[in-house]
Symmetry: C2
Subunit: 232 residues, 2 copies
């Protein structure tokens, strides 16, 4: 269906895959529905090449991995999407022409088509498994991009990621504890030490920046303001 | 749109996510289009809970990560989908109620909604970035499943993965080399040794099983059959 080819083109563009080859498409081509679903990826559709058979489509490639849901019947290595992406990326870096082959919506790839491929890929799913073409392309594209992506697993904005200086934190601790002493918050007095340790741990666990430590001190000042005003 | 919610439910079911909560949906509910796109995941739609606000939807959860395309504006840790899935999986294993929060199709999540979440997730993409709700749920669901998936990166069927015994291979080498000698394939004779080494390396590189080694011997027998018949 045109929709699936459009969604596949859009998925490709999201993850840096560029060349679309269609094998014996049963739909009209060019296809309006494909164009609609591709939204910003119209250039990929416009440059798509049509081939009558898998053999002709694959002739120009040197490493071909095929997605299939029927991993058990296959006499080849079965890769996870992640392992496949790493293998393709390594080959592409050596200038080798690599391709991913996807099956049609209903039947998938037949055994003749699979026999032209170096290895197959199965996408791990729960017991329920119902991925369409666009979704399969999306997941493989995602792993392809990830295989060269250097984004750290967890990051923060550089300006907000700097933990507060100990001096700033100690200033906050002392300011807070002084006001809590004045408010007789630590009760009974014998437990003061343990309670102070708890409060300090709580503050440290929130990994404040200097600015955030100052903000909390401002909040403390604001919270006690009326209280002192009454007494002055 | 109903389609997106249906696609999200189907994506969830593929990857073992089960509870769907909808925040102030603008569509009719229950929704026919959602039902159609969900195909086998109708049970997830039927059990979906509707909440008027993000605050009410999230009240029952202890760890909430939100997807956002606008990582740069956020004063929190930014996770890759993979790191987020690992964090959620670890928490869920400890019995902690975890949630993934996704934004609406157009506007995404607003800052108020993000302020209720522990951290955010951005999906790495190419410069072109246009992922809809169903696709975002698909990718996060995929990483969720992967975070507990023990499939080896590369595998073969146990019965076909066993490399041929050396005896079987040596039998093949000697059979082939004897027929090639008879056919005067190795020429000039001074190069015979190097050529034999090449052929053996080629055969070893294809990592034959016992059965495949026997198949090749059968092919050799078949290929030379007519030749000898002429002479007998």
């Amino acid at each position: 269906m045109g929709e699936n080819v459009g969604a596949a083109a859009r998925a490709m563009k999201n993850f840096g895959l560029s060349e679309l080859h269609l094998i014996a498409p049963r739909m009209e081509w060019p296809n309006d529905r494909a164009q609609m679903l591709a939204s910003g990826a119209g250039d990929i559709l416009a440059a798509a090449k049509i081939h009558p058979t898998a053999a002709e489509a694959l002739a120009g490639f040197n490493l071909v991995l095929a997605t299939t849901a029927r991993g058990r019947d296959v006499l080849k290595e079965i890769h996870t999407p992640e392992a496949a992406a790493r293998r393709l990326r390594a080959a592409a870096s050596d200038g080798i022409r690599t391709a991913l082959l996807f099956g049609g919506e209903r039947a998938g790839l037949d055994n003749d088509e699979l026999s032209l491929c170096d290895a197959v890929i199965t996408i791990p799913t729960a017991e329920f498994s119902s991925l369409n073409l666009g979704q399969a392309v999306l997941l493989l594209g995602y792993e392809w991009l990830k295989s060269a992506d250097t984004t750290p697993p967890v990051r923060t904005r550089p300006t907000i990621g700097v933990p507060a200086g100990r001096g700033e934190l100690i200033g906050l601790f002392e300011h807070l504890e002084q006001e809590l002493d004045a408010a007789q918050f630590f009760f009974p007095p014998a437990k003061r030490e343990a309670m102070v340790r708890n409060v300090r741990a709580m503050i440290l666990a929130s990994r404040l920046t200097d600015q955030q430590a100052r903000t909390i001190r401002g909040m403390i000042v604001a919270l006690v303001r009326n209280k002192y005003r009454g007494k002055v």
